[in-house]
């Protein structure tokens, strides 16, 4: 695993081809957090207001003079739970995302590029206790601004990081090309290699290779066998210049 110069991360993969993950900075983090903070505040407040009005049976949001357990269980507790458990619950249910993170176009991944497990997400949220100090995530924001890969303490503890959710939208050229028949890239490369070395190869060897390649590219074997050496070269060049 290595850092990219443009604030990205390369993750080793089983295929040997690195996965490039664009790492989100403190700006994207703050944007996601502000949206989530408003969402959980509105949810918690809405629950409290609606349930308090129903519980009191009048236009009052105040607790009864001698509040019973039911007031606490029905009105206060769920509102607090919505506010305080918003992040851990949603991140677990949405596999490392929240509505705010979705809106900011970011998601949580492990340092191997995979979706984080429940344990990592819970640890990440426990460390909010430290990151939120002294107020408004001051410590977390400073640490995220200065640390490599823009990690807050929670991410360091959980082995996670925030990356941009890359939109998988095919560019026009790729969309156009999608309609054409697929040519094996190996074959294409071999065609060019053969043409490049054509003059340095023995006559029989280059003819044999050319016939094999043309058959592999879709030519009938009978047609390929019947073609002469010059004809084979022309057909290979046509194949190479088909673009």
């Amino acid at each position: 695993m290595s850092a990219l110069p443009d604030a990205g991360l390369l993750v080793d993969s089983d295929t040997g081809i690195d996965v490039a993950l664009p790492v989100a900075g403190p700006g994207a983090r703050a944007y996601a957090f502000v949206i989530d903070w408003h969402a959980r505040l509105i949810l918690g407040a809405a629950w409290y207001v609606i349930c308090a009005l129903l519980y009191n049976g009048e236009l009052s949001l105040h607790a009864p003079p001698k509040p019973s357990a039911s007031w606490f269980v029905v009105v206060v507790m769920p509102a607090l739970a919505l506010y305080f458990l918003y992040h851990p619950v949603l991140e677990v249910l949405m596999h490392g995302s929240t509505p705010g993170k979705r809106a900011a176009g970011v998601r949580i991944v492990t340092r191997s590029g995979a979706a984080p497990g429940v344990g990592a997400l819970l640890v990440r949220n426990v460390f909010r206790l430290i990151d939120s100090l002294p107020v408004f995530y001051g410590l977390g924001l400073i640490v995220a601004a200065v640390s490599r890969d823009h990690l807050r303490w929670g991410d360091m503890a959980a082995g996670t990081l925030l990356v941009y959710r890359q939109g998988v939208v095919a560019p026009p050229l790729v969309r156009r090309a999608a309609g054409a028949a697929a040519l094996d890239t190996h074959t294409a490369e071999l065609v060019f290699e053969l043409l490049r070395r054509w003059d340095s190869l023995e006559s029989t060897a280059r003819a044999t290779l050319a016939r094999r390649l043309l058959v592999r590219a879709g030519l009938e074997p009978v047609q390929a066998d019947a073609s002469g050496e010059d004809d084979l070269r022309v057909q290979l060049e046509k194949l190479a210049n088909r673009a």
């Binding site: 993969s13 497990g117 344990g119 819970l122 206790l129 360091m156 959980a158 560019p171 890239t185 190479a240």
Partner: protein, 332 residues
């Protein structure tokens, strides 16, 4: 044929594979919407991953600064993420956690427990000795209301249920205890000093309050109040501190893997114990809200409940009830 022409033609040939990329993307979209347990789907996803890796390597070489590369990079990252996202089987995961992961983490924390328990006991003894010798120092550890109540010859817990319902009391207590426990764990980040401070302070407070109420002849009453929930609550305090100490040691002595990796490994490993601690504190909070302040529950029953819950805690941490039986006998 010159090299530029060759590269152009190769790039064009590569673009002709776009149909395969679209098919792979469609399969990924389908699997993202409805996760599948089908082996054929998994095999196809692995094939797509390999195919995308192969084509991405070509695109990086032949079409480096193009939107095609961006597209394939994103598609490949998505395939990587989809392929490496483990299956979610909640019941099996919970059982594995309780039967294997949690006991292993507890065993790993044992050396830290051998330190945190004596530190806590020493701090408690220190607090007791301090207030016993200098009673005025209780002002450092207890609130004025608590001091006034004890000086009147009454525990602050007497008649508690007349003021606050048990359910409210339980939730307040368990929320507070869980927060302290989580702080003891997180504060390990400060090279273990934060954990040491929280552990020491809690020990000092416990000892000091016992010395103070003892001086007013109320130690027995306080012990009667504490015994039902205290056994587990204090044990959990030491367990959380052990988790924090493990995090602290990982920061102080990271080893060859590097500080960040060591910190993350220790935090994730010890957090398993913390999850169990939080669950145990919910039970302790309920006992502290419903049983401890109830004057009608006899002392013997309180001791039985306290010790019973403590033994239940040991059973939970050992993982014994959740261990899977081997289908075949172990070799040898």
């Amino acid at each position: 044929m010159n090299d530029a022409l060759r590269r152009h033609a190769l790039g064009t040939a590569l673009l002709e594979r776009a149909g395969l990329w679209h098919q792979a993307q469609a399969r990924m979209d389908r699997l993202a919407g409805e996760p599948s347990d089908d082996a054929a789907d998994a095999a196809r996803a692995a094939d797509d991953y390999r195919m995308l890796a192969h084509d991405l390597a070509r695109v990086r070489d032949l079409l480096p600064a193009t939107r095609t590369r961006e597209y394939l990079e994103a598609l490949y990252a998505r395939a990587h993420s989809a392929l490496h996202e483990g299956a979610h089987h909640a019941a099996s995961e919970v059982r594995t956690f309780l039967g294997e992961d949690l006991p292993a983490a507890v065993r790993w924390l044992l050396p830290y427990l051998y330190w945190t328990v004596p530190i806590f006991l020493l701090a408690a003894a220190g607090g007791y000795a301090l207030v016993h010798r200098y009673p005025d120092l209780i002002g450092l550890f207890a609130s004025p209301d608590l001091i006034a109540s004890v000086e009147r010859g009454k525990l602050w817990t007497d008649g508690l249920l007349n003021v606050v319902p048990s359910s409210v009391l339980s939730v307040q207590i368990l929320a507070n205890n869980i927060t302290v426990s989580l702080f003891a764990y997180c504060a390990g980040l400060l090279f273990g000093l934060g954990t040491l401070y929280i552990l020491g302070l809690n020990g000092l407070m416990l000892g000091a309050v016992f010395a103070f109420v003892g001086a007013h002849g109320l130690a027995g009453a306080l012990g009667r109040f504490v015994v039902a929930h205290g056994c587990v609550e204090l044990s959990v305090m030491c367990l959380s501190a052990a988790a924090g100490a493990a995090v602290g040691e990982a920061v102080i002595r990271p080893g060859s893997a590097g500080r960040m990796h060591s910190f993350s490994t220790a935090a994730l490993r010890s957090a398993r114990v913390l999850i169990a601690c939080a669950a145990l504190l919910v039970g302790a909070g309920l006992l502290e809200g419903y049983v401890s302040p109830n004057p009608h529950i006899p002392t013997a029953a309180r001791i039985g409940i306290g010790v019973g819950y403590w033994l239940l805690m040991l059973l939970l941490l050992s993982g014994r009830p959740f261990r899977r039986r081997r289908a075949f006998p172990a070799p040898g």
